[in-house]
Symmetry: C2
Subunit: 322 residues, 2 copies
């Protein structure tokens, strides 16, 4: 079967930094409390809309290559409900006529899009796919919920997927995803839909339109669900943690990234950027990938484990030969 290669990546961090010291008075906690609990020393705050952030990351990934055959927006915070954000991103990129749509699986949106893109290339539907994730969600932090408000940051990241040229080893090897709806209420933005319609005078409160997260319970459930997910993926592919060169993991929180050690990944294998950017929702996984790529941490032929958890609660991991 046609193999698949991530040929290039790009990312964009808005210039405005918000340090833990700056955030501390807004959420009524100390700088030390924020850094110790969340692991996030600073995060970026977007002053531009997500389509502009997406465009900057996408253009870096596209480089001087041709335009993509297809654009998949894999972001959580949209510009508006209809249309989905992908036509706006395409327009800001100065393009038209390219098929585009959105995939939403919260923090796993990029991974789901990557799995779909790989299948579309394997079945020869497209030859050059742009996946882009851009989040400008910091205005939706709930400052009265300091634990979750300490986590989030804004960012965009993108990747270009193509068929692997003959003679190269790059491949999208396998993936395993599981969704556990008993955890659906652990990470929520309850508004912006039919349950709490924006205009409704009684059904919708201000809190419904802010991020809510039960961090401790997410952590506990994630630990359990990641274990069963990876056992399935490892068994099917006859691999174990020692076979991987790098772990590219969703940066949910400091403790969540440290969880990697419990799964057999020593800190030197785990790309860790949580302290500098926070939890950037769907942009998190491609941002870790693009940062590692830019810093020369990924060598062609390396075996990568890429994934993490997302609201749902979902767990997803992919095995990629870089």
């Amino acid at each position: 079967m046609q193999r698949v290669k991530i040929v290039s990546t790009g990312f964009y961090l808005p210039p405005k930094v918000q340090t833990a010291a700056e955030l501390a008075p807004l959420i009524g906690k100390s700088e030390r409390w924020i850094i110790t609990r969340s692991g996030v020393a600073e995060r970026r705050i977007a002053e531009e809309p997500m389509d502009e952030m997406a465009t900057k990351a996408a253009k870096e990934a596209l480089g001087d290559g041709p335009p993509p055959d297809c654009i998949i927006n894999a972001s959580t915070t949209p510009l508006q409900l209809i249309p989905d954000s992908s036509p706006f991103i395409q327009r800001t990129m100065g393009m038209e006529g390219i098929p585009s749509w959105s995939i939403h699986a919260t923090c796993l949106s990029f991974l789901v899009a990557l799995n779909n893109a790989a299948a579309l290339i394997e079945s020869k539907v497209y030859k050059r796919i742009l996946i882009v994730s851009a989040e400008a969600g910091t205005p939706f932090r709930d400052f009265e919920d300091p634990k979750s408000a300490a986590l989030f940051g804004d960012a965009a990241a993108a990747a270009i997927i193509e068929p692997t040229p003959h003679g190269e080893s790059s491949a999208y090897i396998d993936w395993e995803m599981n969704t556990w709806p008993d955890g659906a209420e652990l990470t929520e933005f309850r508004g912006a839909g039919t349950r709490h319609p924006p205009n409704h005078p009684t059904k919708t409160s201000e809190k419904d339109n802010l991020f809510q997260m039960k961090g401790k319970q997410v952590y506990r459930q994630a630990l359990l669900r990641i274990k069963s997910n990876l056992t399935e993926l490892y068994t099917r592919n006859k691999v174990s943690p020692k076979d991987f060169d790098r772990l590219i993991m969703h940066q949910a929180s400091g403790p969540a990234v440290q969880m990697a050690e419990a799964f057999g990944f020593p800190p030197e294998k785990t790309v860790n950027i949580i302290g500098k950017v926070g939890n950037t929702i769907a942009a998190s996984i491609p941002l870790v990938l693009a940062t590692a790529n830019k810093n020369g941490l990924l060598k062609r032929g390396d075996l990568l484990l890429v994934g993490g958890t997302g609201a749902g609660l979902s767990v997803g991991f992919s095995i990629i030969r870089w």
Copy 2:
């Protein structure tokens, strides 16, 4: 390559009917005006949330077969922003552990999901995929914009996709999709995102949280864009309208469905349900498919053209051997 078959379909229409006569006083127009302009004599009004509607359609499609390997929610109006609606649908279906996510391309969501599902089966990632579209968007009609308010209705529809058994001719043959961002403002729900955040005291008006549509301009642009899309698809596949047994088209409006004649599809080939259900957004295409299937209009081996337009503005059509 592994071929793909839509093995079964299902749909659900909420029991509550709203006739043109009942809608007329709400939007300040006559029954005759509504039927003549929109082609919609009646539409259904959901009194249950979209996950319950989705479950009813999905269960009909699943029949007494095994649970799916994967659930793709292809709907526009979500229950809430986070998580996406797919975990809630899975829970209402009484299932857990099945990977699930959402695809959003407004009225083309099902078609995009079908194209993705076909690729996932062709590349042997999954063997039984449930795609479900459910829309409960009628509360977001803008009664001060009678032209668009006359169009919408609620519904759910689902399809199960599997590998084609040996010796059968069923196949997902090809597709062509194009997104034209210069039409992004023609069909909108401007709220529920970062442009017009639900809680914002000045950036967000009541109108931002209601459907807005510039019907005449959509019609004119659609006519132009469908023509170029189909020319590309026909040329690549060496087919013409006379080769197709059925046209399964998004029911955007009465005039939009009648547009099919201009593209060489006589009324007897075009499945037309707009008068009874209206524009059911993402549920529209699978609802036409499931209705035609239930009514015995689809014979195995028939060649189908499936698609239409969506906000974006996007045009997408797939060629399917039923």
